[in-house]
Amino acid sequence: MPDPAITPELIAKHGITPDEYAKIQQILGRDPNFTELGIFSVMWSEHCSYKNSRPELKKFPTTGPRVLVKAGEENAGVLDIGDGMAVCFKIESHNHPSAVEPFQGAATGVGGILRDIFTMGARPVANLNSLRFGPIQGDSDEAKTNRRLFAGVVAGIAHYGNCIGVPTVGGEVYFDPSYTGNPLVNAFSLGILRHDQIRKGAATGAGNPVFYVGAKTGRDGLAGAAFASRDLTEESKEDRPAVQVGDPFMEKLLLEACLELFQHPEAVVGVQDMGAAGLTCSTCETASRGDSGIEIDLALVPQRETGMTPYETMLSESQERMLIIVRKGQEKVVKDIFAKWDLDAAEIGFVTDTKRMVVKDHGKVVVDIPAHPLAADAPVYHREAKRPAYLDKVQPFDIAKDLPEPKDLSGILPKLLASPTIASKRWVYRQYDHQVQKNTVTVPGSDASVIRIETPKGAKYIAMSVDCNGRYCYLDPREGAKAAVAEACRNVTMAGATPLASTDNLNFGNPHNPELFWQLRECVEGLAEGCRVLEVPVTGGNVSLYNQSPKGAIDPTPTMAIVGLIDDAKHITPSAFQAAGHAILLVGGIGSEIGGSSYLFEIHGKKQGLPPRVDLQHEKKFLDAVRTLIHSGKVKSAHDCSDGGLAVALAECTFDKGLGAEICLPAPSTKNQEQRTDISLFNETSARAVITVDAKEVNDALVHFKKAGVEAAHIGTVQADGLLAFNVGDALRVPLSYAVAALRSSFEDAIPHLMES
């Protein structure tokens, strides 16, 4: 069957503008054929080329003394952790596929990020994920769909991660109406390797053979990259074939075979996984990085369907495949190892010095494109940005005028604890094997996940957290983005770690909409400032645009993952209260900022106000002060205040051991009149935490914080009686008392009730 004619309609259907088409003609010196058009379509899609976001991404701080492979260089960044050891990590999205087919969309998202890690030579040792859905309460069609997506995504992540044997040790799940129709699935993976094990993805050495290893190629996931670079519509269901199907068993074999092969560095010149845009992307990118050319013949590519056209073979996103550039003469090493693991290892071509990507089909040239312009020279766009009008409606909020204090506050805390964003995620993480590999020190449910890494010089501990408050970013993109960095750094600090570096997943709407692009730019600048001041360079990440449906765009969601280091096991700190009699300290003050809070949203239905300001220098002081106190050995538990404020944080501290607490709140620091009780209990002012120490250490701890310039107060004592009591003190007019068991039921039962009945 002959290829379709290249018409303006066909070009537009491929997402290529007339200007871009002219550039293609200029690069080739002629018109592209159908296969070449498809190749440019995926390589120059937003998903592969970041053409709409690259000017913004340049604003990130990407260097630092520990950064061994920086953002943009390879498939994932690599960070030194001392003693010749390194960690390799990244976060990536699989949003559009998960909206259409949640199980496979999420599963293949996990598969994809894992490949990015082991293609660098690292063994993946921990996964986290950040998930967002529309509300799951109620009986509307939308709620039912959201529940179906939530269940499917979690099952897909579990299926893939559990089978391949990488523990899923943490994450976050967040619910908001803006994600209805546009779920977000951001998958993070971290692997370990020695410095001398870092593998890169460049094709060098003319004559070196190019090997295709792993699963056979089929028609699945065809043009998935282009699908991810479009808005979702009713017709998107027809894009279901663009969702890839994953086989974690195949990937486990591939992972073991590759890691075994990497023990023969003389045999491996370059390695790249076949992810988005499959064979196309891996061949032209390795050639571009190596400043060389590459030639392959599709007749040699293992295929599991008959009659595949060159277009289909080059654009297929069949999973669990890698491209390996082998040193000439070492082919047997590769073949023997892959035969041991019963995997295909086909020699499909060789490196050239023509700087062109040439694809033959049974000897006939079907694609001939200069590699570098295709891989690295996509057009770059500076999109128009305009401050959105909605901000003037949502930012102003005067609680005194707009929201009288409820007379009875007692029902608020249980209701907040039962709101799905705050409620226990045990229903989720119980489905994830979080202990395989036998190195999980802190299981899900705590502020950060902590794993052990064995090195020849002893064990090290890595803490990880992934965070973003989308509501904050909607109300104030810049401050909200700074808050994402601050919160993730705070979470790893609570575990006793020093934050070292970050990876970001930017999730936004259509960049051609100036108001949405403004959100992206503001968030990037907020993230960049946060990462700079808190000294967590961005080692890599992902951009997902076009997250919107006819109903509207998602809240701007710049998800931030932070990796931190704990040198000594004795610094690993739990979040929950450990024993009756311990003194409870509130570090960072009583706070006052209620804008954008869970209290306003979940209790009063208001998505309003300015979110809490993030003073990054103050955040840094706060983080350093908490960490140094932890390192002194005085801290028994540390839990930061975030969604739901101090009251929720205190309640969460009581659940693990069923301990109670007697709390007496201090007066707000600067006010002529007493602050409202609801504000004191539920405000989300940043840089605050609940810390416990031995009763005899209270004075030393308070002195420590005073010296560090951080406010701290002794607010209560852990009790054995299972009661959480807020007493009449300076700030609280009416005492509140809760049975911890009842609060814990609200917290733990919320999501299972919604998902299982």
């Binding site: 044997g165 068993f249 994830y432 094997d433 395989v436």
Partner: protein, 220 residues
């Protein structure tokens, strides 16, 4: 005591078992690849957890045909110790070395959490160092841990002391008679769904799994 940890395509707890034996128990241990056919007469065999052959067809259904399983069956017949953990338990049932079968958890979800087991028989070589009825905190992580066997066989198993571990407070996966682990009539082959190799270090939450391994060392 020499140990051999089997490796099938898709096993993913082989390294954990190997490391626990080498680093915590400090015993000599090797991997036995599924295509090999050798198990030495003095080796204790560990059939580890994971997803051998991707759980295609049924969990453990394909692994039982691996070349190494012939040697494992011979070793079992000679009275050597064989310990099947999670997928290993499933493989031993499929291979006929243990009675019964493991099917899908009743809630239909994969379950990962630390559970409390009671020792139902402390006279086996796997449980000699435990008290009768002693509780052990050991993690589970499985989607197909629901133990099933016909009523007649169950009665015979209970009479012979073949039920070795039960889930205290009820099986989270619907297992018949809350069964978490069983042994053969001869008492040298044990299968258990929980992962004792994950419970050998206090840092990771529980070291109760050590009791099982140390009972074996004590037995030799």
């Amino acid at each position: 005591m020499r140990f051999a940890v089997l490796q099938f395509p898709g096993s993913n707890c082989d390294q954990d078992s190997f490391n626990a034996i080498r680093d915590v128990l400090k015993q000599p241990v090797r991997y036995a690849w599924h295509k090999d056919t050798r198990i030495d007469p003095d080796e204790t065999v560990i059939v580890p957890g994971g997803f051998s052959y991707g759980d295609y067809l049924r969990c453990g259904a394909i692994a039982r045909f691996s070349p190494i399983m012939g040697a494992v069956k011979d070793a079992a017949a000679r009275g050597q110790t064989v310990l099947g953990i999670c997928n290993g338990f499933q493989i031993l049932c499929e291979a006929g070395l243990l009675p019964g079968a493991l099917v899908r958890n009743t809630g239909l979800h994969f379950l990962c959490e630390t559970v409390t087991l009671t020792v139902a028989n402390n006279r086996t070589r796997f449980t000699k160092l435990a008290q009768d009825g002693e509780t052990l905190r050991i993690p589970i992580a499985h989607g197909e841990g629901n133990y099933r066997v016909d009523a007649g066989t169950l009665k015979a198993m209970e009479d012979h002391g073949q039920v070795v571990f039960r889930y205290a407070g009820g099986a989270p996966n619907g297992s018949l008679s809350d069964i978490a682990g069983v042994c053969n009539k001869e008492g040298n082959v044990l299968g258990m769904m929980p992962h004792p190799e994950r419970a050998c270090e206090p840092l990771l939450g529980s070291a109760d799994g050590l009791k099982i391994f140390q009972s074996l060392l004590n037995h030799s």
